[in-house]
Amino acid sequence: MNGKGIKLVLASLMVSVGLAGCGGGNNAPAASTPTDSPESTAPATNSGGNTPEEKVTLKFFTALADRANGSGKVEQDIIDAYMKEHPNVKIEVEALQDEPYKSKIKVYASSNQLPDIIQAWGQPSFLSPLLDNDLLLELNKSDFEGDQFVAGSMDGFSKDDKLYGLPRGADYMVMYYNKKIFADNGIEVPKTTAELMDVVKKLRDKKINPIAMNGMDAWTLPIWYEFAAQRVNGDFNKMDEAVARKISFTDADLVTAAKDMKAFADAKAFADGWLTADYGAARNLFGQGQAAMFFMGAWESGLATDENFSEDFRNNVGAFAFPASDKGKTTDVAAWYGGGYAVSKNSKHPEAAVDFLKYFFTPENWSKLLWQAGAGTPAQQFDQFLTGSETNLQKELIDVFSTMTSSSGTPLQDIGDDEFKQKVMEAHQSLLSDKMSAEDFAKALDAASDKFAGK
């Protein structure tokens, strides 16, 4: 995990170089990199030797639920383009939000009904059960060699040096904010956690919801905790050591972190109703201008282009890195290679599925389209696709990404199995809804880790 974190930093440095090189020249589409093929207009064709007569139906199950906006739209566009180029292939898409997706994938897995291509997370909590039961197809690394995946990004999808999935994006958590609300209330972007606390109090005084949070899904909470812990001792690794049972969660630093996090909840930093808000609800709250900030991953860069929200909002949405402390800097970011795809071992058409993934990950397709749609940060090098006409939000996000100096790796809740995950998330809900003290919280996390370690 540490290794992954470091590699992620390397990758981000590469991007920053790319940005610098592109910074001056503005609107020209950056099409020339040494490895790139000249064809740059149409989505690139990369099909294998499918006989056109054979009718193939591929089931495609994804957690990019919103098909009309952001990365979900990009994904859908590529699927549509593929089907157009391969009239014999029909791709049936099923899309659900993260948590329902993860429940449903278990249903599929337990009944050996895994769709041909599934969204996968390069994290033990998701991947291990599937791999332990031999449900995923081993992919051939050489098939994707030309796709410029960032070094280290495939690690989470690999086991015993075999590749089982491909990462779609680099995920990192930021704080989105509404510049207009900030400006109207004379608030500056907070540089430190103490300043963030002041911002929260100021907003509350003006009866504005500070931070939209999807507390019902709850998976953002442990990521906040990762930040809090890093800001206490300047190191993301302590949390991983605790899960590995080298130290206890009752460690003074970790308890302090829990208290710091709780202090925000006690100051009502999270938007009213956050405990019953799911992803969509939290996102809407922010998008409709009803909360000043939104704690979410960089994949939400599509906020700046989502037509469901007012133009006013779209022009005013920005992002900043989680504020610093005396120990942790803003360049220490909770980041990991998360979502991607895997192919079911029981697929009736494994070649077709792999062929689609090859097409999908051709740099001209996913990484270019995703970046240029402003919908996320690909896990492939994309510096050649910088256009200079990125939205402000995209620029601010890439700032966070490119200046990153250390990263958390897999978020706390995803290190263990599902039971561990549920317990961790519930402990966070209890702590932050004031049903549990920081000490009891530490004990709950210890118990969850013990149980996981004992398996």
Binding site: D66, A68, V93, F309
Partner: protein
């Protein structure tokens, strides 16, 4: 004792009331006001639903709770129909619901007859077993049913939903049917048997027409519960081509998470058929629920 309460004939719906002769008192006005208040309380969701389905997404967060849509955002319905595959889901729901309703009506008629008229040793035992089904939480069968269908290779066709749906409604349907059948005099059947009719002739030619009101109740109740069921639909169905309409809400909540207007349009589309069916068959429902309950 309980049986004596069961009305021999279907409930008279227009019973002349004594009160009409008395003059309108203050108490009565108060009572009517109270009834109207409760009626508004119960009707509110419908008004709210339709109202919001005609608003733009941004307006949902406004300060007033009901808002006059000006102009009405019909586009929400267009979106619901075009993006959400609503027509497809609607058709699926209709097929699954109609088959379930017919199947359960037939089964409950046959069982109801066997339980109330036929003489067999295990009658009481089997009836109690079926009645126990009313108590069993269906969610407890969710998981094993899934495994069962999977082992039998039956996942991903309509029967995956039709069979459990039909099974779940059997207890209540049988209860209503037996309750109703016991109020029917046996003389007609007896003369038919003397005339040489077979048992099936009796059931389908004589009993069926007589029990139509109870069957209507069974059908309406089952229609409503089947149409609205979503946890099984969400768990069992995997193929996009088979999904039912409550699922489209889940789908919409995800896929069009920021388009509240379209979500509400879909919800309205879901709500309309059940309300229509209910309004058409209000009387049958009332009678049926009563007939079943009184006996139980």
């Amino acid at each position: 004792m309980t049986n004596s309460l069961s009305p021999a004939a279907p409930l008279p719906s227009t019973k002349p009331h004594k009160e009409e002769r008395r003059k309108v008192s203050g108490g009565k006005i108060l009572m009517m006001a109270f009834l109207i208040l409760i009626a508004l309380f119960q009707l509110f969701p419908l008004i709210w639903l339709v109202d919001y389905s005609l608003l733009k997404s941004g307006e949902f967060f406004g300060s007033s709770f009901l808002k006059w849509p000006s102009p009405p955002e019909w586009q929400n319905y267009v979106n619901a129909f075009t993006y959400g595959r609503v027509p497809r889901y609607f058709a699926n729901s209709l097929i699954i619901t109609v088959i379930t309703v017919m199947l359960s009506a037939l089964v409950s008629l046959m069982m109801g007859y066997a339980f109330t008229r036929m003489k067999w040793k295990l009658s009481g035992v089997v009836l109690s077993l079926i009645m126990m089904g009313m108590i069993i939480p269906i969610h407890a069968t969710l998981l094993p049913n899934f495994i069962l269908f999977n082992k039998l290779g039956m996942l991903n066709n309509m029967y995956t939903l039709i069979l459990p749906y039909s099974a779940i409604v059997i207890p209540m349907s049988v209860l209503i049917m037996t309750g109703f059948l016991e109020t029917i005099p046996r003389a007609i059947e007896e003369s038919a048997v003397i005339d040489g009719a077979s048992i099936y002739g009796v059931i389908f030619k004589i009993i069926f027409p007589i029990t139509k009101p109870a069957l209507a109740t069974v059908c309406v109740l089952n229609f409503i519960s089947t149409w609205n069921e979503f946890i099984m639909a969400n768990t069992f169905l995997t193929s996009e081509d088979l999904k039912t309409i409550p699922f489209s809400i889940m789908k919409f909540a995800g896929e069009y998470s920021s388009n509240y207007g379209a979500q509400f349009a879909v919800m309205t589309i879901i709500a309309i058929p059940t309300i229509l069916i209910y309004l058409l068959f209000t009387e049958q429902m009332t009678k049926g629920i009563t007939a079943g309950a009184v006996k139980g």
